[in-house]
């Protein structure tokens, strides 16, 4: 299958601290890949390196076979092709729900305002937020914010969507509504890379599960293998600890 993103020998240092050690990994079109691992293992850093919010120290990132770090593409053109959903939502506080989904289309993709609005409405409907288009971010709940953030990312019609613990900052009763949207997206064939602690989501939705520990990918396999028959002791210990809670 066609690879959308491929990472080769990716390393990331923060000062002396080696946070990612020789990461090799790829995501194909239509795949849903979940990244699991304990906190501090480098999951966010990996995601942030992928869309260049952090600059990798060394290694290659190939987007559809093209090496991103060789500057053929400017950062912003490349980033627009990968959506990102953050743990803290990060909706633009000065803009209404609909303008959150319009501003990128107009400024980056140079769409005209009307078609951008139409596109935004389409995706706000998809995430069930079309009644709130004129609300400001501070007027809606966490779960609603995250759904708008997903619609904002989708409005750019990216090739793949990266999620960094999208439900970790939510009150428990709001986790479901966001996961439901994400399941729907997965079914519709969107390419997704999801850092999550929601093991049931990983088990039920993912095509592949990647377990990270101390900056390395320890295991990369189907959910069946990872959850039922992991080959590495560290994976086993992590899952036991998580599933026992």
């Amino acid at each position: 299958m066609e690879k959308i993103i491929e990472i080769r020998h990716l390393k990331k240092f923060f000062g002396e601290n080696e946070v990612l050690t020789d990461i090799n990994f790829s995501v194909s079109k239509g795949e849903v890949v979940c990244i699991i691992g304990s906190s501090g293992s480098g999951k966010s850093t990996l995601l942030r390196c992928l869309n260049l919010l952090e600059m990798p120290t060394s290694g290659d990132i190939l987007f559809r076979g093209e090496n991103i770090l060789e500057h053929n593409m400017t950062n912003s053109v490349y980033r627009a092709k990968l959506g990102m959903v953050f743990q803290q939502f990060n909706l633009f506080n000065n803009l209404t729900v609909i303008d959150n989904c319009v501003v990128g289309q107009v400024k980056v993709l140079k769409r005209d305002r009307d078609s951008a609005k139409k596109k935004a409405m389409e995706y706000l409907e998809l995430v069930g937020m079309s009644q709130f288009i004129n609300a400001k971010p501070h007027q809606i709940s966490g779960g609603q914010k995250q759904r708008v953030a997903i619609a904002r990312a989708l409005s750019m019609e990216p090739e793949a969507l990266l999620f960094d613990e999208p439900t970790s900052a939510l009150d428990p009763e709001m986790v479901g509504e966001v996961l439901k949207v994400m399941k729907h997206l997965a079914k519709s064939g969107l390419t997704m890379l999801v850092v999550t602690h929601e093991m049931s989501f990983a088990r039920d939705v993912a095509n592949r599960v990647v377990f990270m520990d101390s900056g390395v990918i320890v295991e990369d396999n189907t959910p069946e293998v990872i959850f039922n028959n992991p080959s590495n002791e560290r994976t086993r210990i992590f899952l036991k600890r998580i599933l026992d809670n």
């Binding site: 953050f86 633009f92 000065n94 904002r152």
Partner: protein, 263 residues
């Protein structure tokens, strides 16, 4: 009404008001014109400088960009430090007489006054704007970058609108300070309220009575302006609450934004 040196206090106040009100009015108008224009121009200057001073450089930036920014930032810092570190009265003398002597530019006192208040306000506002930009959550930049917006687009569409709203209280504070501080411009014969009062007082040798009236006029101006601006600030206030420690001496402490996003 006739008054002489032995007339009672209130007779003198009345006499002064009656005979010099056009003078006070003209002085107050000039004071307001200079401080308002100076505040607006200074604010624009402050935004420009604040934006330039927060342009990020990383290891991938071109070295000419890095060097250029270093030089520009150094010059801006000199400007900020010098204008914040010297009295406006002295700045007025140096600029007014310096322009005449060194460049042979003879500024009208009014324009010189507006110029001086503008660049003085700019020096203070530059740091306030920079603080306002820095205090915006990093997540706002990251979200904008993640949908492909450039730094300039992010600044213009996302960060500045939020930063400016947060620093409005500091801006009105600066306006009030300027209303009071334009009085120092009398040293270059700007016909603002203090200068006018001095001539009215000198004509009659009644300093106490005249300056009491002047005092009241200044207070009415600052009080009214404060109330009007406060009204607009409250209407603009969203989820955040502000604490303002408005002081030109510690501009770093000027804005403290509380109760931001509920986490």
């Amino acid at each position: 009404m006739a008054v002489d040196a032995t007339s009672p206090f209130f007779d003198w106040v009345f006499y002064i008001l009656q005979n010099y009100w056009p003078l006070f009015l003209r002085g107050a108008t000039v004071t307001l014109i200079i401080s308002l224009t100076g505040t607006i121009v200074g604010f624009a200057l402050g935004i420009l400088i604040g934006v330039v001073r927060t342009i990020p450089v990383d290891q991938n930036s071109h070295f000419i960009k890095k060097l250029g920014l270093k030089v520009v930032n150094f010059l801006l810092l000199c400007y900020i430090e010098i204008f914040r570190g010297t009295p406006m009265m002295v700045q007025a003398m140096v600029i007014f007489y310096g322009a005449a002597m060194v460049y042979n530019i003879h500024l009208s006192p009014l324009y010189a006054g507006i110029f001086i208040v503008s660049i003085n306000t700019g020096a203070y506002m530059a740091e306030i704007v920079r603080g306002g930009i820095i205090s915006i959550d990093k997540g706002q930049f990251e979200a904008a970058h993640s949908i492909g917006m450039t730094h300039a687009q992010t600044m213009l569409n996302i960060v500045l609108p939020q930063a400016i709203r947060n620093i409005l209280p500091a801006l009105s504070n600066e306006f009030v300070i300027n209303i009071k501080d334009t009085s120092v411009l009398n040293v270059i014969s700007v016909t603002e309220l203090f200068f006018m009062s001095k001539s009215a007082a000198g004509n009659n040798f009644r300093y106490f009575e005249v300056f009491l009236v002047t005092c009241v006029i200044y207070f009415i101006m600052t009080f009214t302006v404060t109330r009007i601006l406060r009204y607009f600030e409250v209407r603009l206030e969203g989820p955040s609450a502000y604490t303002i420690h408005g002081s030109q001496t510690v501009p770093e402490a000027e804005i403290k934004i509380m109760g931001r996003e509920k986490k």
